[in-house]
């Protein structure tokens, strides 16, 4: 394709300012207080897709937040790329740890990003990465170089389980028909080490509630004589891992795919410094399942983590109370072949079974999704690999990610097409954390690389 770099250079300030406007809207799907902002964001995405050259763009209502769908069909005989992304973001708390307000984007230089990075919730996950595709589309249409058909499907419930998307996909197989699905919602190993994510973990997210006495009690008058729901909850959660940090839920590992020694050796080749990893997190040691390396623990192995816990008096000072209830939010990352619905049921059955007399336990499943693996010999992967090779000057490394994009396996099942995960983020982007950011260099590099994927995919496709 011609003049990509010059086009990006010429328009980069506008590309940044448009993204910054999008980042100013707090589209927090997990918190209903932000409903209007989420809807406002959908409108903004619709407008940008129209400006980028889509022929028709619609806001498709769902029982949850709407899905923005746009397309440009230039020739039925040419292949079709379906771009997926999401316009919703994670909650920003804890707010006090942000160096600048999460929804007042600022560009600041960092050690890793001398060209500057955009600091804001959603800068990388996923507004920034999604918007790269909108700008790549703009480049291809405005320079008459769009080589194939394009469809966009941008949702607003990814951070809360994409429930409406699942129905939408099932009900619109024809509308969404495509030859490959392209997603930028993952990362790469390093700025100078491009990588393509070939595996994702599944997810099961539950909330548990332990109820003891029917009211809060004075810990002096009742302490030691009744089950304390918080103490009980800690015992129950602690029992979910054994001394080797294996998960103790019966049947949990039954379907876990065990990688061969060769595959594990291949993975181990990815550049990784345990010292830098520990230094970046300011920890004196890593921690995890016995018998696996850090990179294996967070990619090919399933996990169980408490994401939130609360109960009793958590205000200033002291209160000598035995709480009536204690709660925890618990998520399990799953690997290919583990079925999230089955795992959720195994958890529920086990957790309820270990509740001692004196308390009652409720397990409320939140959401989940399947894991996914994409083959590196597919046309889509090859096209992506060549695109990276052109812009980065080196062939990207296939990489398993520990994260989850629950709908990827749904796409394959319902739309019968493979998903290519072209991520331009970095681990240090702090997605889901305070001070999330996205390198300006990465943002522009993505806009440069994506059109080349279209070019090679159209050429390789037959």
């Amino acid at each position: 394709m011609k003049n990509i770099q010059s086009y990006v250079q010429e328009h980069k300030d506008r590309f940044l300012n448009e993204l910054i406007e999008l980042l100013k809207i707090p589209s927090i799907s997990a918190d209903s207080a932000y409903k209007n902002d989420v809807l406002k964001t959908a409108e903004a995405v619709k407008n940008q897709l129209e400006k980028a050259g889509c022929d028709s763009v619609e806001i498709c209502q769902t029982k949850g937040y709407p899905i923005v769908f746009g397309e440009k069909i230039i020739d039925k005989n040419l292949p079709t790329v379906l771009v997926y992304g999401h316009y919703d973001v994670q909650p920003p708390d804890p707010l006090n740890l942000w160096n600048s307000p999460p929804f007042e984007p600022v560009i600041k230089e960092t050690e890793l990003h001398p060209e500057g990075a955009i600091f804001a919730r959603g800068a990388c996950d996923d507004k920034g990465q999604m918007y790269m595709h909108v700008k790549a589309m703009e480049f291809m249409t405005s320079t008459n170089q769009l080589p194939c058909n394009v469809k966009f499907m941008i949702e607003g419930e990814e951070e809360v389980g994409s429930e409406s998307l699942a129905d939408f996909v099932k009900e619109n197989r024809e509308k969404l028909k495509n030859d490959v699905i392209l997603i930028s919602d993952t990362g790469m190993i390093a700025k100078d080490v491009p990588s393509i994510t070939t595996g994702l973990r599944g997810l099961s997210y539950v909330e548990v509630e332990v109820t003891g006495p029917n009211r809060d009690l004075h810990s002096g008058l009742y302490g030691g004589a009744v089950a304390n729901p918080i103490n009980v909850l800690t015992k129950m959660i602690a029992s979910l891992h054994d001394e080797n940090n294996h998960i103790t839920i019966p049947g949990f590992y039954d379907k876990v795919e065990e990688l061969s020694t060769e595959e594990r050796a291949e993975m181990a080749k990815a550049p990784f410094s345990l010292e830098n990893y520990k230094k970046a997190l300011d920890i004196n040691a890593v921690y995890g399942e016995a018998g696996y390396s850090t990179n294996e623990r967070n990619s090919i192995r399933p996990t169980l983590d408490v994401n939130g816990i609360w109960g009793g008096y958590i205000g200033e000072g002291a209160k000598t109370v035995i709480a009536s209830k204690a709660y925890a939010k618990i998520s399990m990352r799953l690997v290919p072949n583990q079925d999230w619905k089955e795992i959720t049921q195994l958890f529920k059955t086990h957790f309820e079974s270990i509740a001692p007399d004196g308390v009652t336990v409720k397990v409320n499943p939140h959401h989940g999704g399947q894991g996914y693996v994409t083959p590196i010999d597919s046309v889509g992967y090859q096209a992506a690999s060549k695109a990276y090779a052109d812009t980065f000057g080196k062939t990207p490394i296939p990489q398993r990610s520990g994260g989850s994009i629950p709908i990827v396996s749904l796409f394959e099942q319902e739309l019968k097409s493979k998903t290519i995960l072209m991520g331009f983020g970095l681990d240090s982007d702090a997605i889901h954390s305070p001070n999330e950011h996205f390198g300006v260099w990465n943002y522009l590099k993505g806009i440069e690389t994506i059109p080349l994927f279209y070019k090679y995919f159209t050429e390789l496709h037959n």
Copy 2:
């Protein structure tokens, strides 16, 4: 004494309305947001003591909240009773569980209180019980029947550890000189089963903080590879009790006084229905240290309870995060001979020692106090026993309480006098809980009984 009952009947509406005014002020000592209300309450108490006939009343400043001191010395050769109480209250949360606002007192009938009960934070603990003494004083002075000297010491930091009181007592031994200390901050077995508390548990209250990575992390990208502070905290807390619910802190039980079979048999005679106990709390089973009865577990045995726990995302919906920090408030109830400072140190040393690599742990001691036992053959106990016998028509039962009034042992040490705990509350009063209340009958019965204690104590004293 003459006409107590008629005086109480004649003035009961005023007695109730005055208490209700006092209960309207949210004197929450644990929360600095209520500082002015706590100070306002001290003023109100001062005014009431003056109206009740004290010759001199002063608000004594401390490094914390002030102590209201008042006295009436009628004859240096007569004995002196020192009345202790507190005007501060527990935080009211969880607010949503109150049937009426905690600081808008209402009188409602209940099954147990056909005469009505005052619902408000502090109704029983301790504004209501403290105010019985003010009204008993009013009766004795206004009818010229005060048989001895009286001193009042009403503090505002009982719910947060009485730190300033300790200094105040040490610095004012002469001013506080007395022959017996009288406190109503405990309960009795039932409306028709009067009892006098002869034992109190000590307390050690700490806050723990577990820190893992230096920022919140994405649970997909890091899950399974770094220590999750919440998971670690649950493991650490769970390990503090063994399978028999014995506390595992080395040395914790070394100084625990083991009661003789005879003493335990004596205790077991107190009327108690396990069925009613479980029904009242809506639990299917009690829970606690193996080898001890419910009444022993909450009175003669030490305990360790989590009073609050928090960490990670506790808002609406789901957030897949690994928190950087997790916290818990933990209190231990101690029995006579256990030193709270020593136990606090044992906890700190042990808890820090069981922290796994990958996290750092901080233990911040909040406050504490010693346990206490009072002999039933003392003049004070005998005087109280006769007073109850007159107004209840039966001799009260000596009872060990699981609660703590940390300063009682301090009083004995610094002022060399015994404390008599004349409590008129009931377990069902829900102190420290939503819907705290105090029976109108109990309130008036207390005002009736207290003057008789003065009478008998003066007669028996020599």
